[in-house]
Amino acid sequence: MTGFSRVQMIGVALMVALIVLAPSVLYPVFLMKVLCFALFACAFNLLIGYVGLLSFGHAAFFGMGSYVSAWTIKHWGITAEVAILLGGATGAALGLVLGWLAIRRQGLYFAMITLALAQMVYFFCLQAPFTGGEDGIQQVPRGKLFGIVPLESDMTIYWLVAFVFLAGFLLIHRIVHSPFGQVLKAIRENEPRATSLGYRTNDYKLIAFVLSSMLAGIAGGTKALVFGIATLTDVHYSMSGEVVLMTLLGGLGTIFGPVMGALVVTAMENYLAQFGAWVTVTQGVIFMVCVLAFRRGIIGEIGAKLKVTL
């Protein structure tokens, strides 16, 4: 019915339990960062894992979503959920343009074009007055949910972030297990064959791209509200690289992999921050070990050991 296998149901239950219990042990702000990146990585995984499209430009959607949510809540005083949705709409609109330009290209060319277009977005953000250039948009208020519930307390906004993440996670699962998702998988498996069955594959790829960039925009917008800041870091190409890292590390094409990857990478950055540049080096090493030894990623390897799809 739900499209989850029994093992996956257990996985989801476990994940929800952890989300509920974790803030009594760990800092809510750290957890919210993990959840925002987890949603971002899940959105990215929708493309690479289920359509076979490698986007090197996903920071553009995450970062622009973050800027627009931050700017609108700060200057228009709108409510928090509207700001987050505007971030999503920004991601979707930008995804439609960039996707439309990139989707005609295959494989590595697709990846290169997304990277080039995302760089253009980065330079736009660097120059445009509304982003605040190098300073970014600072002192962004968290606003009120539905105009009623103040979100200044970390624990209150935590539940909002948890809800946004879970809603996005479930939406992606539904997309993958929909009639539409079935066609996406066919395209991933054998695009010429899907075409020969009469599917206009570019239309399907473009819609998947827009859905993915919309969710990336929502993740970026949510992050901006949590941290009260939107900066160039979120549109920088290294952010695009980071989401690739998270997804590969956790397990590409698995439903829990991107979440696990986001947790590990964010934790590394947080707890290794004291070692400065070594974070990057450590990440690089882990990335290489992963690519060479654990091709399926953490969750993918566990799934293969237990002979289940996670």
Binding site: G3, P179, A186, N190, R193, S196, G198
Partner: protein, 250 residues
């Protein structure tokens, strides 16, 4: 005249300076099994790619059911009822056999962009998919991942998937290539059963298959039509004989 379902005129495709398909005028009669034979590199697969619009022709015109399809996209050609298979078997390897067939059946829903709906709505196609799998002798492999099937069964699955679209015309590129004897017989019998109400254009190297199955044969060499007619006529043509003797594997 009106019985010609597919006709080309002056069909030409160049790769750089190399002419792979050269001024081909092909006419396929409705309801027949038409073979396209010729040595390796003759341009048969390229012809299929042109007919199904996977490649744009350099010159020439293609008509299907009296309609000019030269400028259509591959998906549109498929929707008109001209459906191809591939020389290298084309299944969706990580999907189960029934999911493979269902993907073709699902096409009849129109554009299935409904990402918000559960895939359980597709279960209405299960019965039809099972019966198609049954038709091609795959009833024991309904839930098997397509990639794990033997080569012969992959081909059978491919045919079941193509049949699910109920195409008026099927293009089969070497449906028996690389198969063991029993598998060849199975596929030949299958083609005999499905020809009812359809037109089939097939590339085939196995001449005994061609002899037993095909009504008309077109021989292609170096991109040009060398001879055309029924098996008896074509097999006696001295040019055909020398073309075939001139190539190691015919």
């Amino acid at each position: 005249m009106s019985d010609i379902i597919l006709a080309t005129s002056g069909l030409t495709r160049e790769f750089g300076g190399f002419v792979a398909v050269n001024d081909v005028a092909l006419r396929v009669e409705r309801g027949t099994i038409h073979a396209l034979i010729g040595p390796n590199g003759a341009g048969k697969t390229t012809c299929f790619n042109l007919l199904t619009k996977f490649l744009p022709p350099t010159r020439g015109r293609i008509e299907f059911k009296g309609r000019d399809i030269t400028r259509l996209s591959p998906a549109e050609v498929a929707r008109l009822g001209l459906v191809r298979s591939f020389q290298i078997s084309a299944v969706f390897p990580h999907l189960s056999a029934i999911e493979n067939v269902r993907l073709a059946l699902q096409r009849s829903r129109g554009a299935s962009f409904d990402f918000w709906r559960s895939e359980t709505v597709l279960s209405v196609y299960d019965e039809r998919a099972r019966s198609l799998l049954d038709d091609v002798g795959l009833s024991d492999y309904v839930d098997t991942q397509a990639g794990l099937l033997s080569y012969g069964r992959k081909r059978a699955l491919e045919i079941a998937t193509t049949l699910a679209l109920e195409p008026e015309m099927m293009l089969l590129d070497e449906p028996t290539a690389g198969m063991a004897h029993e598998d060849v017989d199975r596929v030949v019998n299958l083609i005999r059963r499905i020809r009812e109400g359809r037109t089939i254009l097939m590339v085939e190297h196995n001449l005994s298959v061609v002899e037993g199955l095909c009504d008309t044969i077109t021989v292609l060499t170096r991109g040009r039509i060398l001879a055309e007619g029924d098996y008896a006529t074509v097999s006696k043509n001295p040019e055909v004989i020398s073309a075939y003797l001139g190539s190691a594997d015919a």
